[in-house]
């Protein structure tokens, strides 16, 4: 058996143990033989490795779930910014439609509803758990609890006993809450006249009361004043003014 046949036999797996021994002997003594065997072994390895990789790639393309998931994921990633942009555009569209084109339909009544909220109690803060004793506390507790009927009775009583002008302001707010704007207006006008601490607030609520009672010119002039003062609700006043004009 020549050297070539020995090498072929090695790859065919057909060598006897004596032939294998001969192969090993030549491998350690004959450089050319060793190089040839190594070269062929390396070639076989390379071809096998290449084939395995090709088959693995083929399998990866067949993989059903993984592929579907990856596709889904990338689609979501691509869509998200577009969807955000689209929803913002839609929102802006709806808002401007409501603001620009719906304006003539918005009555003073509706504008009042949008802008009126009872003024928060800032002069007599209630500490929960403190025993309710005096009239003011009871009045403001009722006010904060939105028990406006009860609050009105208490503020009326207070206004006969106390000279604190801010009580007029809160009574006016309670009256507005109870849709008694005609009664609220003189209280607010009076409060503004005496330059009460919450004057700007009073102006705002007075302008809303004028709006509600359809005294639009009075309302507008107050709103203009608020806008110029650049203080409490000046921005909202300016917006409201634009809506009224």
């Amino acid at each position: 058996m020549d050297k070539e046949e020995l090498i072929n036999g090695y790859f065919e797996n057909s060598l006897t143990s004596a032939q294998l021994q001969e192969l090993e002997r030549l491998y350690s003594t004959d450089l050319d033989f060793a190089q040839q065997l190594d070269y062929e072994k390396e070639l076989r390895k390379a071809l096998k490795s290449n084939e395995r990789n090709e088959i693995r790639n083929m399998f990866n393309e067949l993989q059903p779930i993984k592929q579907a998931n990856e596709k889904k994921k990338s689609l979501v990633v691509q869509l998200r910014p577009w969807m955000m942009a689209a929803s913002i555009a839609l929102l802006v569209g709806i808002c401007s439609w409501l603001l620009l084109f719906n304006k003539p339909n918005q009555s003073p009544e509706e504008l009042y509803k949008i802008h009126f909220a009872p003024y928060e109690n800032v002069v007599h803060p209630i500490e929960r758990g403190v025993e309710i004793e005096d009239l003011k506390t009871r009045a403001f507790t009722a006010y904060e609890n939105e028990e406006f009927e009860k609050a009105l009775v208490l503020f009326k009583e207070l206004n006969t006993k106390s000279t604190d002008s801010y009580l007029q302001f809160y009574e006016a707010i309670v009256l507005m809450q109870l849709e008694k704007h005609e009664e609220a207006i003189p209280l607010l006008e009076n409060y503004i006249a005496v330059n009460g601490e919450l004057k700007e607030r009073a102006q705002w609520y007075l302008s809303l009361s004028y709006l509600k009672t359809k005294q639009l010119d009075k309302s507008k002039s107050l709103l203009m004043q608020l806008t110029r003062q650049d203080g409490f609700k000046s921005k909202e006043a300016s917006n409201l003014l634009k809506e009224l004009n």
Partner: protein, 181 residues
Amino acid sequence: MTDEQLIADMKNRNRNALKVVYKDYREEFFRFAHRYDTQQSYLEDIFQDAILALYENAQNGKLDTLKSSVKTYLFSIGKFMLFKTFRDTKEFVTDEDFIFDQREEAVFTEIMEDQEPTEKQLMLVANFKKLGEKCRQILELFYLQGLKIEEIMAVQGYENKNVVKSQKSRCLKSLKDLIQQ
């Protein structure tokens, strides 16, 4: 497709047979392998390696006298690989009492430990692809499909063994020349 057909196709290095095996048994293999409480991410690799081992052992003639079904053989390879990866192969007993011989196990191990090809191997493959059709055929039959010189003579219709031998030798030399260019 019958098992006989499947084995014959694999021996002829027909990759469509592998696609059939992959598609037909993937789902069931994942269910089967789940019993050995394995992380899902490894299962795909093990399943692919098991098919590769089935494929190479088919070419080595290990399936010629197979008494069980191809599926049972494939799942036993999978189980062997699962044990080799996560447990101890000494514990390994298949339901059918398969005893893999040394050569079969050597193939499993080789596939599982398969490394990324080296630069030298990539170069060999790249130049191999430049060889003529006849050369590629004879070298693939010999090294990949594991046919003996005599078998190549019969399959390819060569006159005698010596023609095959010298053809193979010439092709190896051509490849060497391509690399040295």
